[in-house]
């Protein structure tokens, strides 16, 4: 395991590790309060732009925030948002409903992502390296992503799990995953029924269209984590840490420190910048941020084609 390795190699002492791992509810509650204010702000922008074409950029902006519920959910998967364990489950489930990602299923899938990070054929979350600019743009459109997610939720709700899923979901939990997918679809059905009954279709504009508009941004960010890095087990090679500005760090809950997160997944978001200072010389860092990572990916596509 990379953590045990890092300790053995003296990159991190046990005392430091212990300090970095400490959990508390305060930082996340404060961040969530700010989060809700940001959401209120982008929601207001949509309301203000309601009768003009400006509603589209407003929905896009709001969508960028909405798709970042993935970042909170991801952090909840690791139980590092709150010290109080059940709060992680609750908040994770809510985020999952916002972006249609059943929480427990994601948790199991994500476990294998941590075990087999970036190993082709084994890492269930691996985003393949695009072989052409066309493939690159197609991935960024989020169309393949949504196709996969809709198929996945429908398959689970129908009571079926794929071969790979049967490998990473513990047998005792098959039924839970199936029930979660059904509950999620039932919640969506209820929401639509309520909109139909009330005649108020606002959530389409405040939630659904923005999520679809914003998802390409999340795809853009998710690509920077591993795409273009080698398919090897060394954590120092297979993952990219991107140095990005404060608003992006706020939105992604510091998950731009991705290599640090993979080294020690038990370290909460608020301690990742400090962990970065310890590990920065032992990991792959992209100082130019998300854009730099994409320049690197595009360069690799170009070079592979010539």
């Amino acid at each position: 395991m990379p953590l045990t390795q890092a300790l053995a190699e003296g990159k991190l002492t046990r005392e430091e590790l212990k300090t970095f791992m400490q959990r508390s509810d305060g930082p996340a509650l404060r961040r969530l309060a700010l989060w809700i204010m940001v959401l209120a702000g982008t929601t207001t922008l949509i309301t203000l732009a309601w009768d003009s074409w400006l509603i589209w950029p407003a929905m896009f902006l709001h969508g960028i925030v909405l798709v970042h519920h993935f970042s909170i959910q991801h952090e909840c998967v690791h139980y590092t948002v709150f010290r109080t364990r059940w709060l992680n489950d609750l908040v994770g489930q809510i985020c999952g409903i916002i972006i249609m990602l059943p929480h427990r299923f994601f948790r199991y899938e994500h476990c294998d992502h941590h075990t087999y990070t970036q190993l082709t054929g084994k890492d269930p979350e691996q985003v393949p390296m695009p072989r052409s600019y066309g493939e690159y743009l197609l991935y960024l459109s989020a169309l393949p992503y949504w196709k996969a997610k809709f198929t996945e939720v429908a398959r689970h709700a129908a009571g079926r799990l794929s071969e790979t899923e049967r490998r990473f979901i513990p047998r005792e939990e098959y039924a839970t995953v199936i029930r979660d997918a059904r509950v999620m679809l039932a919640i969506y059905a209820l929401i639509f029924a309520a909109m139909a009954l009330s005649g108020w279709w606002g959530l389409i504009w405040y939630w659904i269209i923005p999520v679809f508009l914003g998802e390409p941004v999340m795809r853009f960010i998710r690509m920077t984590e591993h795409v273009g890095r080698p398919s090897v087990a060394q954590m120092s090679e297979n993952t990219r840490t991107n140095l990005v500005s404060a608003p992006w760090r706020f939105l992604c809950w510091n998950m731009n420190y991705h290599a640090e997160h993979h080294y020690v997944a038990s370290v909460p978001f608020h301690a990742l910048p400090r962990l970065h200072e310890k590990l920065r010389d032992h990991i792959h860092v992209e100082p130019r941020g998300y854009l730099g990572a994409h320049l690197d990916i595009l360069r690799q596509i170009r070079e592979a084609r010539t």
């Binding site: 998967v77 005792e172 939990e173």
Partner: protein, 104 residues
């Protein structure tokens, strides 16, 4: 009656306070937990994917695995968070003359 003898494993003073301490006992790795309700012990390697629980996060009575954050209650070994689903192997513990002893 359990026939297994008590064995000294570590001095109480050498335990990490309110945390988990790793002990090698023969060819076995044991995790010793200092908790508000006393000292508990289990096998150190997680029964989900074999990661070393002694590098995990410990809070109260819950040890969380460093690899996938599966978690166990150290008092009875019960899994409290997925992907851990089976109880972990725990050992009877006592303190005698400043030494932590296990029945093992």
């Amino acid at each position: 009656m359990s026939a297994k003898p008590w064995r000294d494993v570590i001095a109480v003073d050498d335990l990490e306070r309110n945390w988990v301490t790793r002990v090698q006992l023969g060819d076995r790795l044991i995790a010793i937990y200092d908790t508000p309700s006393g000292i508990h012990a289990s096998l150190a390697l997680c029964n989900h994917g074999g990661a070393d629980l002694c590098d995990g996060y410990f809070d109260g009575h819950v040890i969380e695995c460093p690899l996938h954050q599966g978690a166990f209650d150290v008092r009875d070994g019960r899994p409290v968070a997925a992907p851990a689903t089976r109880p972990m192997r725990i050992f009877e513990t006592r303190v005698q003359d400043g030494m932590v002893q296990l029945r093992i």
